[in-house]
Symmetry: C2
Subunit: 420 residues, 2 copies
């Protein structure tokens, strides 16, 4: 029996380390030419499979594949595209099988978050439901850190390191200028539903008086009065106040603060995020001079300040996915298992996809202080190891030297076009 | 004759490397106990001199002073406070002399930008005008890179490296997601009057198609129609468009785009910066999905990605300031002199403060492409060496380990209070 080819796709928002998983997967697959033929990547994720737009990764040199380990973003392109259920969109699954068959694909590796785990689970069921033999393995990835079972999600540790580093640096800046300048600084971070990234900002506050002094979590209802009182008390004590805020905080009525219904002169919805909204509130009610920053994509793409732990885990999970497939398994997600906090020790366990799909992991309430404005020691114990270690990319001309793959297309074999 | 003490103050917006200058200055002063007694730092800049709030840096260990080299922000506090002319505010200068006399200060080191150079010049004239012998030396510092004579300004190179790195990383991110997600990404950077930081974003575009594709300089009047046409053409060609924009761009009437007169429902001036304004424009006129980031203080505090060249220059200028003072000179600013582009070679020359004060250096027009949307090869030749090399701070618990000095107050000797 000649070895089957593998399909690999990146899904959803990309991260600083998703390519490290790709690197682990492709390098490991290349070590088993007897069992795995070529690794075909989906151009722009699962869309690439549906449109038969496959990339032949065997055309990339070993050196370039190795460089994926230190390159942020999705090297093959990613997409936000969720497959519906087998019942309602049977045609999509039949198309997948058609493409898999045409390219002799027997392994399906899907690298993504919660939605992707669900898609991967559905693909894993094709075998039984539609009679095409395929092994589907999910590789976890999401800066939101909201997948269950796994200790953490690749991508998160690096964002955590970036936001904690950045808010510490900005905090030092503000503290040194507060006598005559900015009193309140606000950094808006990602995490619309779960406050993991906001919590990571809190790691920067290690010494008395050090920012961030206030964190605003999406899990905690925003209480304007309580917040303003806390800002005032902080400025009176330290002469400045540093705030980390999740893009997803909501008021008592459950409305996002970033969508407060404010309109400009032309009736357009208010521009911009939560940070300027909070800043304006502080200015209006307390009169403090403010500055704010919105890190946006900078945080999830910041490979230059990636967590070494995160990079190692991302690579290991890609490698493990191949090993699980080679062991003949299906519908599995390799997951990080924490063995010890200090020093951090971990290994990889196998989580059944059925227990992963459609489950979101939120911050435990005991990770947030009682007043709702900071992280607890328990949270710190959980988060600290995830930002441990530096893993700098190589630099060229003063800038990170990231790889751009050739991304050579696999010749199409199917006639006709598929409509997404 | 017993050695005179020195006064050192940080002024204006702080940077990732202003403490490296402080480090160079203090370490060098300590090597000359026969000529320089103690180095007293102004708490919160020049205000510290006026209020007699001096910090005794001799109380800091050699190790902690060495750590200043890798610590961002102003370790002794900085301020935005400009001394008026000797004629109109003679009282302030007389107060300075009073404090200098009480603490036996014979050297005045002022670490700042254009305004500070002007103040330093005025202090240098005290000697003749008010009969108090003092040598005033200015150490250049400004992320705006707008001081004359010197090849560049400490602080700028590190911001340049940060913005170029960040926009490259975000550009990779957007490129990999554009098929189904964000088409246009906008990064807002500092530099209200001069486009140096915006230009530095341009360094990230080294290969065909690589972002940023468009730069919006404060030196170039914002032409909405031309801009939108360029965005459209870029998205049609590359499926995405990455834009770096200065916070200070203006429209044809000379109004800042960040103050377009838009109001919210309560009549408040529109929140937030240029990036969301540009983003909304793109969305309204072209319909593209966008994301935007405002780096704000993150950029000037980002010591974790400082330019090695910048750190070395900042240190050397602090050292040089002491050497110039020891040579008996007054009213001087040590300045970087460029000897060669590739590889970059530089030394330090002495610029008379009278030629520095009140002169702003803007981007030469031939550093901006004819269409006004990018940088030229000449600009690249100038900028590239300034971001060369990495100089990572030490890390502890996964975060940069920055020093907090003890900042022990020098006992006050003067009776009565001075009112700012």
């Amino acid at each position: 029996m000649s070895p089957k080819n593998a399909f690999y796709a990146q899904s959803g928002g990309v991260t600083a380390v998703i390519n490290a998983s790709a690197c682990g997967l492709i390098e490991t697959a290349r070590q088993h030419p007897d069992k795995i033929g070529k690794v075909f990547a989906g151009r722009n994720g699962i869309i690439g499979a549906l449109l038969e737009e496959l990339i032949d990764t065997s055309q990339e040199s070993a050196e370039d594949i190795a460089r994926l380990r230190h390159t942020p973003s999705g090297a093959f392109g990613s997409c936000r595209y969720k497959l519906k259920s087998l019942e309602t969109h049977r045609g999509q699954y039949e198309r997948l099988i058609e493409v898999f068959k045409a390219h002799d694909i027997g392994y399906f590796f899907y690298n993504g978050g919660g939605d992707s785990a669900d898609t991967c689970l559905k693909v894993s069921q094709i075998s039984a439901a539609l009679g095409y033999p395929i092994q589907a393995i999910h590789i976890p990835k999401t800066v939101d850190n909201d997948l269950p079972i796994t200790d953490c999600c690749p991508g998160f540790g690096s964002v955590a390191k970036y936001v904690a580093t950045s808010i510490r640096e900005a905090g030092f800046d503000v503290a040194s200028m507060s006598r005559t300048s900015t009193k309140v600084f606000i950094l808006e971070v990602m995490g619309r539903h779960a406050g993991w990234i906001t919590a990571a900002c809190g790691l920067a506050a290690e010494q008395e008086g050090e920012g961030p002094h206030i964190l605003l979590f999406p899990e905690i209802e925003f209480d304007e009065e309580k917040f303003l009182a806390k800002v005032k008390a902080t400025v009176e004590k330290y002469d400045h106040c540093v705030i980390g805020v999740s893009e997803g905080i909501k008021d008592k009525e459950g409305n996002f603060l970033s969508e407060t219904g404010l309109r400009d002169a032309f009736g357009h919805a208010q521009l911009g995020g939560v940070a300027p909204t909070i800043a304006q509130l502080v200015k209006d009610k307390l009169g403090y001079k403010y500055h704010w920053a919105v890190a946006d994509y900078l945080q999830r793409a910041a490979r230059h300040i990636a967590s070494k732990t995160d990079v190692e885990q991302a690579y290991a999970l890609g490698k493990s996915a191949v090993e699980i497939a080679l062991a003949g398994k299906n519908a599995i997600m390799p997951a990080i298992r924490r063995l010890a906090d200090t020093p951090y020790r971990w290994d990889i366990a196998e989580a059944p996809l059925s227990e992963v799909a459609n489950v979101e992991k939120f911050m435990p309430r005991d990770f947030i202080t009682e007043d709702g404005f900071h992280i607890t020691e328990a949270c710190r114990r959980y988060l600290s190891p995830l930002i441990e270690g530096e893993d700098y990319p190589p630099f060229k001309n003063g800038l990170p030297d990231y790889v751009r793959l050739k991304n050579v297309a696999v010749p199409k074999k199917l006639a006709g076009e598929f409509k997404l």
